[in-house]
């Protein structure tokens, strides 16, 4: 975990209301693992006060990228950044996907909406590991889809404008019987509702599944205790989303 004053390189629109911010951050770029995030100070003044968390979308050489939707004042401020600006970035934060594990042969990457964010970095690592790769994306409609830097992509949209009409979980359910995935494991990211449905699907079929969660955070590195995630059993009632997560084995948590 380091704090870097990062020069913004570019902000570009890659899909409807969807932006990629690229910044110079050598220490984070070199150490980040797939599923980890950064916490970015978006304003100079006091409003918005807190940093904003974003998954690392891509990292190459000295640069990192995040991908985001403009949903409020913090993301609006980020969208307005240009190469004249510097942002203060804290990272890499959190527990990554356990992509290095030997316990699976096929990685099924599932991204709902901007849940695509941690998937390109995951793809890169999985490819190097020589794992089989399937990517399943869900989006509201085709104009919101971000399919770059992924492999073996299957697509669903809520309105049917591209791919299967339905959710990413629907698509997964329809694919599963037809495909011959050798010892699959799901790595997912997306809205809580989707993760809940996906979790049920995976547990019912006994497919291992790791999900990356989202929720309010103040510090992002474990000192405020502001980000509890309810555990289903274990010694403690809560884990911290920012430190013990954002990636959790679906069987450990209650969504």
């Amino acid at each position: 975990m380091v704090q870097e004053q990062s020069q913004v390189i570019s902000v570009s629109e890659v899909a409807r209301n969807t932006y990629v911010l690229r910044f110079h951050s050598p220490r984070i770029a070199r150490s980040v693992l797939a599923g980890q995030f950064v916490n970015i100070a978006v304003a100079d003044d006091c409003d918005p006060l807190l940093r904003r968390p974003f998954s690392i979308y891509r990292a190459h050489g000295d640069t990192c990228e995040i991908i985001f939707n403009v949903v409020g004042k913090g993301t609006l401020a980020l969208q307005k950044k240009s190469s004249r600006d510097v942002v203060n970035v804290l990272g890499p934060l959190g527990t990554p996907y356990s992509l290095e594990s030997e316990g699976f042969m096929t990685a099924v990457l599932v991204g709902g909406g901007l849940g695509v964010a941690p998937l390109p970095l995951s793809t890169l690592i999985l490819r190097n590991k020589g794992k089989e790769l399937v990517t399943i994306l869900g989006a509201r409609s085709s104009e919101y889809l971000v399919e770059q830097h992924l492999e073996n992509v299957h697509v669903s949209t809520d309105d049917g404008t591209k791919g299967m009409k339905g959710t990413a979980v629907d698509l997964l359910a329809s694919l599963l019987p037809t495909q011959r995935w050798k010892s699959p494991k799901i790595f997912a990211c997306g809205p809580t509702g989707m993760l809940r449905a996906l979790g049920k699907f995976a547990v019912d079929r006994n497919i291992p599944c790791e999900v990356s969660l989202e929720g309010p955070m103040a510090c992002g590195f474990g000192i405020c205790q502001g980000c509890p995630v309810e555990l289903v059993d274990g010694r403690s009632r809560y884990a911290l989303m920012c430190k013990d997560g954002p990636v959790f084995d679906i069987r450990r948590i209650s969504l």
């Binding site: 006091c46 006060l49 405020c224 205790q225 995630v229």
Partner: protein
């Protein structure tokens, strides 16, 4: 070279910028990001006798220039603190103040007794913004008699500095300051969070699981400053100013109105090295203005007290 150190109850602090309870963990979490030895002191997260899981989510929400929290004093309990955190704290030089929370007066005493067995700790800060279970959960801190009682019971149990941390959620904090001074407190910390609330209008629900929570951050600085001014004029013991401190200038404002030292809270979440930066900024201010000792700032405000709005019209 400006003198930055000062002492409270015989304990020497290297500078006047401390990190506030609940905003710096137990001291070890930030040590990779900031040289904790450059802080005036670390004040730990509030410790209760037994571990506390804390409140259900949602525990935090951002507000204009501030945040609300309802952590529920999630903490590992005093025993695990000793076994898990003391070893790290032994490796650093800066003073460590342990903050204690409890739901009965006996529990405050019991936690302090455990800590007294360890020489590493430089003092105690007592969080009285806790629900008094014997009184149906009303906060100790809004009851002057209970606040005094906690002080009275703790005082004979330790020779270390006993710092009572007051809540701002009262009409006149000076009354509480005088009450704890009379019972032998070495110092006062002011203030804890202001009670506040936020609503999710789409869900028609309070954002926080506990309905209300504690407001902190720059938004509360003006209120905290007025409370510290009021408290420090009421007592002779030192007052440690807390509330919304973001910059060295903010900290100097607190010193000028009468605070002997300050604590940085919420800003640690935004910048874990805020405390160190602010300590350096105070020193730079003194050097620039030819002030030999940061203590010369304390209470240096030139104010016509009689014209305070307390006796005027808004």
């Amino acid at each position: 070279m400006t003198k930055t150190s000062f002492s409270i109850g015989g304990v020497q602090f290297p500078n006047r910028v401390l990190v506030a309870s609940g905003t710096f963990g137990y001291g070890d979490e930030c040590s990779s990001l900031v040289d904790v030895n450059k802080l005036g002191a670390i004040i730990t997260k509030s410790l209760s006798m037994n571990p506390r899981e804390g409140n259900p989510p949602t525990r935090i929400v951002e507000t204009p220039s501030g945040m609300l929290n309802s952590i529920g004093l999630a903490n590992i309990g005093v025993e695990r603190f000793i076994t898990e955190k003391l070893p790290f704290l032994e490796t650093i030089q800066c003073p460590v103040i342990v903050n204690i929370a409890a739901s009965t007066v006996d529990e405050y005493c019991a936690v302090l007794d455990v800590l007294e067995e360890h020489s590493r700790f430089d003092g105690y800060e007592i969080n009285v913004s806790c629900p008094n279970v014997k009184e149906g959960g009303l906060s100790f801190g809004t009851d002057r008699v209970m606040t005094a009682e906690i002080t009275r019971r703790l005082r004979p149990r330790t020779k270390r500095p006993l710092i009572m941390k007051l809540t701002p959620n009262v009409a006149f904090i000076s009354e509480f300051a005088r009450a704890v001074e009379a019972e032998g407190a070495d110092a006062i910390s002011a203030v804890n969070t202001l009670i506040g609330m936020a609503v999710d209008v789409q869900k028609r629900k309070p954002v926080l699981s506990t309905v209300t929570g504690g407001l902190s951050g720059p938004a509360i600085k003006p209120v905290a400053l007025a409370k510290v001014y009021e408290a420090s004029r009421a007592v002779k013991i030192p007052v440690i100013g807390i509330g919304g401190i973001r910059t060295a200038t903010d900290a100097i404002e607190f010193l000028m109105v009468g605070a002997t030292a300050v604590q940085v809270g919420t800003m640690n979440f935004v910048d874990p090295s805020a405390g160190v930066t602010i300590a350096e900024g105070i020193q730079a201010f003194c050097e620039e203005h030819g002030i030999p000792d940061t203590g010369d700032l304390v209470g240096s405000l030139d104010a016509r007290v009689d014209s305070s709005v307390l006796t005027s019209w808004l």
